[in-house]
């Protein structure tokens, strides 16, 4: 598969993940919904750190900011940082079995949500319900599925 195709694949999967993120659901399901876009960015950062990566995280975060954010830039910062973490540790994570990868994704999502929580508070839109952390758990649980699906779109190098 050529590199240009990989870039296109990344962009397309990110858009699909974005649509999944804003798809209307009943409230209880919406709270448990994993942050598909964040998981997707993490996936590409781990599997193909040279393409996408931090720019992908930043751009995806900006899209989330416009659709769901309180302040422009908060998701962008948090997601760029999550991507940075994944890129820094990609060799370590890639070598692990899927279960341990799930744990890493869970940790990365916790960091992401923690940054959002802090930024929400600083910018004057505090929101401290415990329910905001639920998606980190479901995100970790859904990782094997996401990795399986996205793994079909590229050859690992």
């Amino acid at each position: 598969m050529s590199d240009r195709n990989l870039g296109l694949t990344i962009t397309l999967t990110a858009i699909i993940a974005l649509v999944l993120t804003v798809l209307p659901l009943p409230t209880w399901l919406a709270i448990a919904r994993p942050q598909f876009l964040v998981v997707t960015v993490l996936y590409w950062s781990i599997m193909s750190p040279r393409s996408g990566g931090i720019l992908l995280g930043f751009a995806s975060g900006l899209a989330l900011d416009v659709l769901q954010g309180q302040v422009l830039g908060e998701h962008a910062l948090a997601l760029a940082f999550a991507a940075y973490l994944a890129i820094r540790l990609h060799l370590l994570v890639r070598a692990k079995p899927v279960f341990e990868q799930s744990l890493f994704v869970f940790a990365a999502l916790m960091v992401y949500e923690f940054l959002l929580w802090v930024l929400d508070g600083w910018s004057g839109h505090p929101l401290s319900t415990p329910t905001r952390w639920v998606h980190t758990l479901t995100g970790g649980l859904i990782w094997p599925l996401v990795a399986g699906v996205l793994g079909r779109f590229h050859s690992t190098r």
Partner: protein, 313 residues
């Protein structure tokens, strides 16, 4: 770097900035964006443009449910349609009766108006119907997106109601869409008044739809279950007299200064597909004050009062 992935040939830790440096660059960019989103003005134009780019996504996401609705409406059974038709016809007869009464009232009103030339014009100058786009905003906050924006004449802080009561106000504006913050959002507060005794207070959103809190009523204040709350017109966003909520519970604990008062909003988002945007006649006495409070607050407050205004010269 139009498409992610054009830099595939570059080794990760070779040429070009390292991941750390790149993250730093984007982090600084994010912080700058956040700062200006809070304080600046030029970013409003950027935000406006970004809202416009988000609109296609919102419409695309909305289309399955909209399509499903259209489909079910097409294949609705004859009996259902007949029943609905019957109901609407009865409703129309009722409305016609009211209309006849209204015509006579209007005539009477006109005659009275001639006697009293200085009567104010009606409060609601203009109203506009908008549809809720079913797009998930943050599920933990109470916001909805509607399909009318600045191009349709929607303004920031405009009052949004449904048939039964106040729903919220416009919080964010795009060219074709707008985000409405509901009265039940934890960041929203609306100045209200109890109709029974004109007691004023503030109703704060609780974060779950279907509940408002009135945290600033003293324990001995005259409030009870079933009281109707209308907007008081203070605060300059909502006009006076729009129905908002009904008190559902009052708890008084003897060791506390403030009563715990809960209310249920009259408007319900779950049921609504359409909302109404109201525009008010600014000369009417019940209309909200012309200065929108979102604009940076002028430095009037408490300290300014005793000072002699000489700093302008």
């Amino acid at each position: 770097m139009a498409v992610f992935g054009t830099e595939v040939d570059r080794p990760l830790y070779g040429r070009g900035p390292s991941p750390g440096l790149r993250f730093t660059i984007y982090a600084v960019l994010s912080v700058v964006l956040m700062y200006y989103d809070q304080h600046g003005h030029w970013e409003q134009r950027l935000r406006y443009a970004l809202e416009a780019t988000a609109y296609p996504v919102q419409v695309a996401v909305n289309s399955p449910s909209a399509g499903w609705r259209a489909l079910t409406e097409t294949f609705q059974s004859r009996a259902v349609l007949r029943a609905e038709n019957e109901r609407l016809r009865a409703h129309e007869r009722e409305l016609e009766l009211q209309l006849i009464r209204e015509a006579s009232l209007e005539q009477e009103n006109a005659e009275l108006r001639q006697l009293h030339a200085s009567l104010p014009p009606p409060l609601i100058k203009n109203s506009q119907l908008a549809e809720i786009i079913s797009v998930e905003t943050d599920p933990l906050r109470q916001r909805v997106v509607i399909n009318k924006g600045a191009r349709d004449g929607v303004k920031l802080n405009q009052t949004v109601v449904d048939g039964t009561g106040v729903l919220g106000q416009v919080a964010r504006l795009g060219p074709w869409s707008a985000e409405v913050i509901l009265v039940t959002d934890p960041e929203h507060a609306i100045p209200v008044q109890i109709t029974r005794n004109n007691l004023r207070s503030i109703a704060v959103g609780s974060g779950n739809s279907g509940e408002l809190l009135l945290p600033y009523l003293a324990i001995n204040s005259d409030v009870k279950s079933g009281d109707l709350l209308v907007s008081s017109g203070l605060g300059g966003v909502f006009p006076a007299g729009l129905p908002v909520a009904r008190i559902t519970g009052v708890r008084r604990e003897s060791n506390q200064i403030l009563a715990q008062v809960r209310a249920q909003p009259l408007a319900t988002v779950e049921r609504d597909r359409e909302v109404i945007l109201l525009e008010f006649e600014p000369t009417h006495p019940d209309a909200p004050a012309p200065n929108p409070p979102i604009a940076p607050a002028p430095a009037t407050p408490v300290k300014a009062a005793p000072k002699i205004p000489d700093n302008d010269e």
